[in-house]
Structure formats: structure tokens, C-alpha cells
């Protein structure tokens, strides 16, 4: 700010004191701030750094935690690209002509997600996986109009449940549970039994919360043809570089989180809620969507499109209230995918698969351990039955700076799964670290 310019501005307005601009705020509601004085940048840096240092040094912790957030290697170029200030200091691209860069980058993101999921219509992001799922259920009801039940298998993330319940408040949609079988996958008999005319949609998570993959996916394809319900598939985008795209086996909507593609764990956020759907339903979609078009000279250009679905135009008749989303993380994710390329992604996915399976084998060889506990095909995460109380085991490993996996019986939803933990192994875990895990498990038992 230029010294003295405030006085010139006050003079221009014909007032002496800036307080006069607040004279319309009644005295009885005037308040003062009760917070400390500000810090200079130098002091600020050391103050905040010293607070963050109170965390356990991430380099000293060997983590096998997953359950929705995974530690993957992020190339330095991702940070550089998402750190371009023309990208991160811009707003939602309302003025397309001056925002082509962001628009094109987000169109690339949409195109990548379309390739991975096999569904052509993709939005620029939801907040995260649970909120994307909630929006998918609401969208299913907009498509189906008939029926008021949505089937959600029990082998899904506990954090989804409460988010779903909240988003469906005041709507006439009942969530009905479907059991999982001995292998942790959806109990198909139970699912068939619950399918009736009142069912508007089903949710299929693959990988499910136990890390397991649904193997007979054609079952879901047939199911859809027989019952005509909307099929929402939740997945991990990294596994999609190896797995048949859900769009090929009946998914109408695919949700997930793009965090494994180039987004740091960051204590759970910000991540990127994936939302893709069949081209048939584009007008029912929530969120911002970028479309391809031309400018006045016939040159290819991009802009936000189908905005009449959205809150700023359609208000109470909008498909969703979402406005601010996770666009920059979508851009970061797109840059990660391009940096890795199709071959690179496939290689990482295979490495995850191989390391996780190797680790499961090693754990399974240990006395009293069983891995995977749910005997099913998996990607990079699996269940482990432990011979001692999981929480106790977790605590003892923690003392050795190893986080061996998340105790599942600690969660209300899975309290009956005594001594079962969920262990993830990504490409980040070296052979030495896996050995450390094995040794610790041996020692604590």
C-alpha cells in the first residue's frame, strides 16, 4: 500500500475517518476482536514450523495405513505444475476467454477419468469420495423417480455411512444394508433378495473396505439388465489402470477419490472426489463441468458448460448446491497421470499389487497370523487376522515406529471382526521396511 493514499481516498469520499463507513452498524452490536496481535513473517515461519514439528517426524514412521488415503510417490514436477500461481490464484473460470489454461487442464482431467472409468461424462470434482457417493445417490433418485430404497453393502467405508445419512435427511430415500460373504465381497444372494421394485440403485465398492475386488463383475451387468436399477461403483483410480473399467460392466455412475494419483495424504484433505457417469445422464449431474467448444474465430476452446443445472442459475432447482470444489487437486492429479504415462501408471499399479501380495504372504507365514483374512483377490490392501488384540499389537508396533495397519474392530461398524486389521502396501514401502514389519509382528506376539 502506498503511504498516505488512504487519506486521499477518504478526502475523495468527503469523510475524515474510515469509521464513518461503518456508521450503519448499530452500537449495540459492535464488538472488538479478542485475538493476539499479528506476527511478522520471520517470527511467523518459526512459530508455525515449531508447531508442526510437534508431529511425529514422517521420516521416522513406517506406515502401512490406508483405508481411503494412500501414500504414493509424487514427482516434484506435480508440485511445480500445481504451484503455478496463474492456476492456484485463479477463481472458478467464469470468464472462459481469460481462463483457457485452467479450463483445458480440467478438461484433460475429465478425459483421464473417462479413460479410467469407461464413462464419458465427468465433472471437475466433488469434495471427496463420501460426498461424491452421497451426490451419486441423490442423482440416482433424480434419474429413477420411482423407488425409494438404495442398497449399500456393509463392506464399505464407515465414513460413508454417516455422510450418506446426513445428505439424505429430508429425502424419501431409505438406505438398506446388504451383507458381505465369507470372502468379504458382496453377498449376492442377499443382494438379490433385497432387489425389488422399490430399489432405485445399488452401490458396489471394488476395492471394498477390506481391499477386496469383486470378481464376477458380469453378475452386476446382468443384475442391472434384469432390474434396471442405477449402479453406482466406488473404486480406486490406480487399480483402474489394471481393472476392467466399470463403465464396461454396468456402472451408471463411478465415484472415488483421485488422491492416489499425485495428491499427498495431507491428513485426509484436500483430495479429489471423482464423479463420472454415463453420457445419457449429463443433465442430471452435480457440479462444475468443462465442455469443448470453439471461439468466435473457430478455434478450439473450453468453457464451463451445462450451467443451467447449477445453483448460481437454477437456485432451488439446481442438481446440487456445490460451488467451490477441489479443482486444483484435479489439475494436480491430471499432471501426475501425464507425468507417469499409461506405462508408468501400469507399472506402479503392478508394483503395488506385487508388494502387497508379497507382504500378505510373509504375514500369513507367521504363527497365528492370517492374511488376507478375507480370502479374496485384492489390489494393494488386505485384512490381517492377528493372534493378539489388534489394538495392543498396534500400540507395541507403534513403539517401534511402525504402523502395521488399522485395527478394524476399533470401528463400531466392524466391532465383530475381532483382531482384524487393514494393511496397505504401496510402492513406497521398501523390502527393508516390509522386513521391519514382519520382525515387529513376530516380536510383539
Amino acid at each position: 500500500m502506498v503511504e498516505g493514499e488512504e487519506n486521499e481516498m477518504l478526502e475523495f469520499l468527503g469523510i475524515d475517518d474510515v469509521e464513518e463507513l461503518f456508521k450503519d452498524i448499530p452500537d449495540q452490536i459492535r464488538t472488538d476482536l479478542d485475538i493476539p496481535e499479528g506476527l511478522q513473517e520471520k517470527e511467523l515461519m518459526s512459530e508455525v514450523k515449531s508447531k508442526l514439528k510437534k508431529n511425529k517426524d514422517p521420516d521416522e514412521l513406517v506406515s502401512f495405513l490406508g483405508a481411503g488415503i494412500y501414500e504414493h510417490f509424487i514427482p516434484a514436477a506435480v508440485d511445480e505444475i500445481a504451484g503455478q500461481s496463474e492456476f492456484y490464484t485463479s477463481y472458478t473460470p467464469y470468464q472462459a476467454e481469460i481462463s483457457q489454461g485452467m479450463l483445458q487442464a480440467l478438461f484433460e482431467y475429465q478425459s483421464i477419468i473417462a479413460e479410467l472409468t469407461g464413462l464419458g461424462a465427468v465433472n471437475t470434482s466433488m469434495y471427496d469420495h463420501p460426498t461424491a457417493l452421497a451426490e451419486a445417490v441423490l442423482m440416482s433418485a433424480r434419474i429413477k423417480r420411482k423407488g425409494n430404497k438404495f442398497l449399500v453393502p456393509e463392506n464399505t467405508h464407515w465414513e460413508n455411512d454417516s455422510v450418506l445419512k446426513n445428505y439424505l435427511r429430508g429425502k424419501d430415500i431409505k438406505l438398506e444394508k446388504v451383507n458381505y460373504g465369507e470372502d468379504g465381497a458382496i453377498d449376492r444372494e442377499d443382494l438379490k433378495e433385497k432387489l425389488d421394485d422399490d430399489v432405485l440403485g445399488i452401490y458396489v465398492a471394488t476395492p471394498n473396505i477390506f481391499g477386496g475386488l469383486e470378481q464376477d463383475v458380469d453378475f452386476f451387468k446382468d443384475l442391472k439388465e434384469d432390474y434396471g436399477c442405477i449402479q453406482v461403483v466406488g473404486t480406486n483410480p490406480l487399480v483402474l489402470s489394471l481393472m476392467r473399467p466399470p463403465g464396461e460392466w454396468g456402472a451408471d455412475i463411478v465415484v472415488g477419490d483421485s488422491q492416489p494419483l499425485g495428491i499427498p495424504q495431507a491428513y485426509g484433505g484436500p483430495t479429489v472426489g471423482i464423479f463420472a457417469c454415463s453420457e445419457r445422464y449429463i443433465r442430471k449431474m452435480p457440479g462444475r463441468i468443462i465442455g469443448e467448444t470453439e471461439d468466435s474465430n473457430g478455434k478450439r476452446a473450453y468453457c464451463m458448460t451445462l450451467q443451467t443445472r447449477e445453483q448460481h442459475i437454477r437456485r432451488e432447482r439446481a442438481t446440487s448446491n456445490i460451488c467451490t470444489n477441489q479443482a486444483l487437486m484435479a489439475l494436480a492429479s491430471a499432471s501426475y497421470v501425464f507425468l507417469k504415462g499409461s506405462k508408468g501408471l501400469e507399472k506402479i499399479a503392478k508394483e503395488n499389487y506385487r508388494k502387497a501380495h508379497k507382504t500378505a504372504e510373509r504375514i500369513n507365514e507367521l504363527d497365528g497370523f492370517e492374511a488376507p483374512y478375507f480370502n479374496n483377490e485384492f489390489f494393494n490392501e488386505f485384512t490381517v487376522k492377528t493372534p493378539v488384540d489388534t489394538k495392543e499389537l498396534y500400540g507395541l508396533c507403534r513403539e517401534k515406529d511402525i504402523l502395521p495397519g488399522l485395527p478394524l474392530d476399533d470401528k463400531d461398524k466392524f466391532s465383530s471382526l475381532n483382531d482384524v486389521m487393514l494393511t496397505a502396501v504401496t510402492e513406497m514401502r521398501s523390502e527393508r521396511e516390509v522386513e521391519q514389519l514382519i520382525r515387529s509382528l513376530e516380536e510383539v506376539v
Binding site: 508431529n55 484433505g269 456445490i322 467451490t324
Partner: protein, 475 residues
């Protein structure tokens, strides 16, 4: 004044177009689910990708490029120290389920931020979980919903003025509430209309104050009284909190629930659309309904509290957009008491200064004194058979991002302008001069704008007609 802005103009093909068909070899997955054909993503050298995105960034306009007076969006300068701190591995690496004892730094910052925001809003407690303003709104309404339900009351209406942000009515109908929109009187809430609308069906009343015209609703306390008497709750949309911080609070106006837009008031960057963060603050009356977990302090240790008596549960996975929370925390620490109050003062001074400069050129409906933003009418453009949109596009040629246009709807050909506190007098003078210059220009020049941006005027109708939403859909 000549429009001398020049944006880069590259013909960059999509990278995804360069992909070639390829089989997946040695797929370890079982045959029934194994992909045969690899996803069509190109394999390119790193430097090509870096150059591509770098060029795209040159075809994008951010607050670091220039003035961005997008009304209601609070495009202020985003300090660089917040970015630096939020990129430290201690902030970016932790897993959300790692033991609380390993996350004491994060938890302490989250706990402190809860306290700071509570004070800034005059609230009793805060949840950091919502990921955006609209997410905060819907969370607040979920709280109201549960509150009434627990009291055995079926209240199915939410009242708001016709100037409300689009997210307000959308949040209301997402939760199955009926919307009761009351007309404004002289740009503000009409107390008589509110009195008539409020009753036993009223679950909540939502406003932002100052409202979207930039006018302070001086009758806020009377509104609170009317709605409380009817048994409803008061919701404060925090989108415009930056106009009153240090002067008054939603709590002082007797509001029960509010959200904060950390990506507006607390200067975290908008990221081309997100991520944002929309913490919700509540007064004691409804504090037991907040989403869980919240962070609490016990004997100098910080931990998650999942045991709020009437909690609605979760609205998002994990604990909110932590890195955005961190940036807002850093900003508040840097500004402190005086910094935040002078930010409010300068934002309002800049707004009134620019308002007075511009009212010579464009119409200003509804009173003079504004807070952080003001709304002009572009109806003078009609004299040349042009629209506000044309004016907006021509501004791009002068190197300014256009204001928010066609909102609020009660102003004909609206231009909503929010200069923010971080802009200098020189910038504001330049912008006013550009508007003045455009008003003198020939119709054709304005109609054909923009000329200086990466592309010319974009055909939005074609985008809708073709609906190409991914490369896959182009074919």
C-alpha cells in the same frame, strides 16, 4: 486509455489426444476383471508435460496476474508464506488415521483455529469439517434439521431474501426443505415480509450481512427476534464476513449458526475453483449438534472428540481440508487483531472509493454507503444495444478480470464489484479509467471483445449443444 493487455496464445493440442492404443501385458488381476486394453493416456517425456502446463498457465488469469474484482468471491492477494508453510512435509505427509500422539502439531493448530474462528464469529464452538461454503451451509441446515427433530418439531420451511447467493436455495432444497423467498425492500430484508413468513413451519432463516448488494442489514437483531419468536434458527452465510470482521459478529446479531469461507475472508487461494474450506460455527444452543470429530484439549494434549451428545455425525471423510485450514490459520496469525480489523476497513474503503468513482459512468441502484462490495447496473449499455456481458468481455482486453455479472438478480444487468483490501488506489483508478474508456468506445469494439485473451469470445451455446465433456466424448 488503450487496452494493452496481452495474454499468451498458444495452440496447444490436448495431451490426451496423443495417446496410442496399447495392450496391458502380464496383468496380475484375474481374467474376469483384468483390463486388456490400457487406458488411452500418452507416454511423454517429463519436460514436454512441464512445458505444456506452463504454457497453459500463461493462458490463465489469477490474482497474481492482476485485479480480480469478482463480487462475492473476495479475490484478495494470497500471501506466499502460507503456501510455503503448507508445503512442509510435516503438513503434507501425515496419514489421517495415524495415532493422535503422532499428530499433536496438526491437532494443536486445528484446536487453535477452532478457538480463533469462534472468536471472529462470536460463536461458541466450531467444526472444521466442511470443505466449502456451500458445504458449510448444508451442514448448518443439517444441524437445524436435527435440532428441530429432537424437539419433536416438524418444520419444513427455510426463509431467505431474494438477494441470497444461489447456494442458499440449493442447499435448502437438497435437504428437502421448502424455500420461502421474501422480496427485499430498498435492497434489504423487509421486516414485515419476514414477520409474515415466519411461523411454526420455519426451520431457519438464512442471510448474509452485509447482503449481496453490499448493504449492511441494520435490522439484523430484529430479524433474529422475529425468527427466534417463531421457534426458528438464524443462519449467517459467512461469504461477506470480511466486511465486518472486528466491527461486529454474527453472534452479536444473535445468529445461531454460521459458516466461514476460509478461501475468501482468510485469504487461502481459490485454486481455479477449489479447494476451499467452510467451517461451521454455532452458539451454545446448538453446539452439541456439530459434526464429529471436533478437536479438544486435555492437559496440554490434543485429541479428537467423537462424543458430542447430539452430533449429526459426519459431512465429509476425515477432518476437513487440513492444508486449507493450515493456510487460514497462518494468515490469521500473521494479521492478528489489528491486521484483520484494518483489512476490513481497507476493503470497505476501497469498495466505497471505487463505487464513487464508477457511479459517474454506470447506474448505482440502492443507496450509497456500501460495505466490501457494490452492485452497479449495466443498463446504460443498452443505449448501444449492448449488454453487461459485453462490458465484462471488453474489460478483459484491458487486463482486468470482469466483475461478477447478472447477480444479484434484482439488479438489471448487474455488475457486482468487490475490490478487496489488498488493492492500491492506483489499481482502482486504473480500473475506473478502463470503465470510463469503454463507455466511450464504438459498439463494434465492445461487441467483438475480447481480442487480447488466449481465445476470442467463446461459444457457450455450442458447448451445450455438443456436450463434449471428455476426449472420449469427442469421438
Amino acid at each position: 486509455m488503450t487496452p494493452n493487455y496481452r495474454q499468451a496464445r498458444y495452440d496447444e493440442e490436448l495431451l490426451i489426444e496423443k495417446a496410442e492404443k496399447r495392450e496391458v501385458e502380464d496383468n496380475p488381476l484375474p481374467e474376469s476383471i483384468a483390463r486388456n486394453e490400457a487406458p488411452k493416456i500418452p507416454d511423454l517425456p517429463t519436460h514436454k508435460i512441464v512445458r505444456y502446463f506452463n504454457r497453459l498457465s500463461h493462458m490463465n488469469y489469477g490474482i497474481d496476474t492482476g485485479f480480480y474484482p469478482l463480487g462475492s468471491c473476495t479475490m484478495k492477494y494470497n500471501p506466499k508464506y502460507t503456501e510455503k508453510l503448507a508445503s512442509l512435509p510435516e503438513a503434507t505427509t501425515p496419514h489421517p488415521y495415524q495415532p493422535e500422539e503422532c499428530s499433536q502439531g496438526i491437532l494443536e493448530i486445528m484446536w487453535e483455529l477452532q478457538q480463533l474462528l469462534a472468536d471472529l464469529g462470536g460463536m461458541d464452538s466450531v467444526s472444521l469439517q466442511p470443505a466449502a461454503g456451500a458445504h458449510g451451509e448444508i451442514t448448518g441446515l443439517m444441524i437445524a434439521h436435527q435440532y428441530h427433530k429432537d424437539r419433536g418439531e416438524e418444520r419444513n420451511e427455510v426463509i431467505m431474501p431474494d438477494t441470497a447467493h444461489g447456494t442458499n436455495p440449493a442447499s435448502v432444497s437438497m435437504l428437502g426443505y421448502d424455500l420461502v423467498e421474501i422480496p427485499s425492500k430498498n435492497g434489504c430484508v423487509d421486516l414485515e415480509a419476514l414477520e409474515e413468513a415466519a411461523g411454526e413451519d420455519t426451520a431457519a432463516f438464512m442471510i448474509t450481512n452485509p447482503n449481496t448488494l453490499g448493504l449492511f442489514e441494520t435490522d439484523a437483531c430484529q430479524m433474529a427476534e422475529i425468527v427466534h419468536d417463531a421457534g426458528g434458527l438464524l443462519y449467517y452465510d459467512g461469504a461477506n464476513l470480511n466486511a465486518i470482521m472486528g466491527k461486529t459478529t454474527p453472534g452479536a446479531m444473535n445468529f445461531d449458526i454460521m459458516h466461514f469461507n476460509l478461501h475468501k475472508t482468510f485469504s487461502t487461494p481459490h485454486g481455479g475453483g477449489g479447494p476451499g474450506s467452510g467451517p461451521v460455527g454455532v452458539t451454545e444452543k446448538v453446539s452439541s449438534y456439530l459434526p464429529v470429530p471436533v478437536v479438544k484439549e486435555e492437559d496440554g494434549k490434543y485429541k479428537f472428540d467423537y462424543d458430542l451428545e447430539n452430533s449429526i455425525g459426519r459431512v465429509k471423510g476425515f477432518y476437513g481440508n487440513w492444508l486449507v485450514l493450515l493456510k487460514a490459520y497462518v494468515y490469521i496469525l500473521h494479521e492478528g487483531k489489528n491486521g484483520l480489523e484494518s483489512a476490513t476497513e481497507r476493503a470497505v474503503l476501497n469498495s466505497n472509493y471505487l463505487r464513487k468513482k464508477l457511479e459517474k459512468h454506470l447506474d448505482l441502484p440502492y443507496g450509497e454507503l456500501r460495505k466490501h462490495e457494490f452492485v452497479l447496473s449495466g443498463k446504460k449499455m443498452k443505449d448501444k444495444d449492448l449488454k453487461t456481458k459485453d462490458l465484462a468481455k471488453r474489460l478483459l482486453d484491458y487486463g482486468y478480470h470482469a466483475p461478477t455479472i447478472y447477480f444479484p438478480q434484482l439488479v438489471d444487468e448487474a455488475l457486482m464489484i468487490e475490490p478487496t483490501e489488498t488493492e492500491s488506489k492506483e489499481t482502482l483508478d486504473g480500473f475506473a479509467e478502463a470503465i470510463s474508456s469503454i463507455m466511450e468506445e464504438e459498439k463494434e469494439l465492445i461487441e467483438e471483445a475480447p481480442k487480447n485473451t488466449a481465445v476470442g469470445r467463446v461459444d457457450e451455446t455450442k458447448a451445450i449443444r455438443d456436450s463434449v465433456l471428455s476426449y472420449m466424448m469427442r469421438e
